[in-house]
Amino acid sequence: MSFTIFVQLLVNGLVMGSVYVLVATGFTVVYGTAKVMNFAHGHFYMLGAFIYGGLVMSGVHWAISLVLAGMAVGVFGLIAWHIIFKPLYQDVFLTVAASIGMGLIMVQGIIVTAGERDIIVPSVFKGVLEIGDITVPIEKLAIVAITFGVMLILHFFLRTKIGKALEATTIDRDAASLQGINPGRMFGLAMALGSVMAGIAGAVVVPYLTAQANMGNTITLIFLCIVVVAGHGSIKGAVIVGILFGLIKSIGYHFLGSMDIILLMVIVAILMYIKPWGIWGVEFKRTI
């Protein structure tokens, strides 16, 4: 393997890794705070991709489309929280079943409205960066940069008063409610926040991959593995493991083709055997 190919693989891994980071962090925020396992999260990502694609193709500026796609998916997540997840709160099995059912509706709804064809969205950043004989499209760097920006915004958001309230609810719901924090509102906020991140992840990845109705299925596997290995509720873990899995998947795909998922499974199994609660996870008493 020449050095050039190796760098290309690293860049591709970093791009996919940053998308995984956005989706996995969104899931982990929702699970950590609201204790809701939203298995339609991968389809929220798909929804973000389609909304962004539709807006860009109808001539809206890409940055506005990005924000609008994120907001729309966030509002969708909030509606889903109020209609489905809130009434089923703490009934884990039915929550999961209903969320998978919701995913089914979303995928088929997109197929009915947008057609079965993949939607190809032209990239907004044209041109390549050349360092020696290595060429990197600006578009890929933009995905990494936007992810970094979103994670930075999340970092500063968690430092504000409302962000601290969110974190307090994550740590101890009852103690937080004694301090005058409304846990129900915080759960809704967490759900919206996680959905926004999934929507933005879908939006940034559209020019790189295409928008497909079942693109949520593949990413569901990967973000679940990331959350399991990192430990549920750990944002730091999700970021590190997400980037790592992106790199593993990119290099694995080069050598193994579509069987790279088996490599990922073996790595996940070994890590789970060594660290049953995840690397950055807390040994939850509640989750015996």
Binding site: Y31, M37, F39, I84, P87, L88, D91, V92, F93, L94, T95, V96, A97, A98, I100, G101, M102, G103, L104, I105, V107, Q108, G109, I111, V112, N217, T220, L221, L224, C225, V227, V228, H232, S258, M259, I261, I262, M265, V268, A269, M272, Y273, P276, W277, G278, F284, K285, T287, I288
Partner: protein
Amino acid sequence: MRLSGHLKIPSLMLAGVILIFLPFVIKNQHLMHIIILASLESIVVMGFVAQHNLKLITFCTAAFWGMGAYISGFLSTKLGLSFWSCLPLAGIGTALFAFILGLIVIRSGWVTFLMISIVLGEVFVEALGHMDIVGGWDGITGIPRPAIGTFVFVSKGAYYYLALGLTSLCAVIFAAFYKSAIGKAWTAINQSPELAASVGINIFKYRMIAYVAAAFTSGLSGSLYAHYLCFIAPHTFGILRSLYLSINAAVGGLYFFISGPIIGSIILRAVPEYLRITDKYEPIFEGAVIILIALFFRRGVLGFFRKSTLRGL
């Protein structure tokens, strides 16, 4: 539904007599097909309910079912074994796989268990699709039908008795578990894992027993499924099938360990057959029904007859 003691034996006998003479009453072959499939599904759902009772919510039940079907299909088409030796081998093979897997996934607690079960359900289908030795995405065709001597099981009626026997066997296995000391420990873990652990119940061990027992019975059911349809493909055993199987449990009643799965499976097998809608909107309809069941129908059919949700057979 829990019947009072002196009514239980006669009512079970009555049910047995009705079930034995059912093929003589029903002449509709399609209805018999539905009943056979429902009884095979109900075995898998019994395993799901046993695991759900221990707070192990799994969404790869169809994967274990498929594993039994594939072991059986592979052994009978490639190695030429008969159904009667494939059936136990499929059960034992699936149970062994579940045991090795359980060493990794059960220790991590139910949250990780749930997430990994979804991943496994998807990866199982992907892996089978890429394995050429079991036919890839086309699956295995031409699986031989079971035979005793020169009598070959071809008619729906013959298969009905086979399925009835297997379902009764699995129901007896699970009933024996619930009645024994293991079942007492299961109930304790269901009510409070922490409290059960504090009195010295080894949660990991008892969860493992339920996990392996569910895998074993699912493997048996899968084996008969393969030899009944004579054709299996990876897509049959995907994550959506697991979802539908778990919805069977919810419709029957999650706290009715043996009657709930049977009744739920029959209802959810029979009702969609008579409610055909246009293909394009079918997944939307199914998803909406699942959400509505989850929101408004939580106690299941049997839950309407009995208020308490603690335990029952």
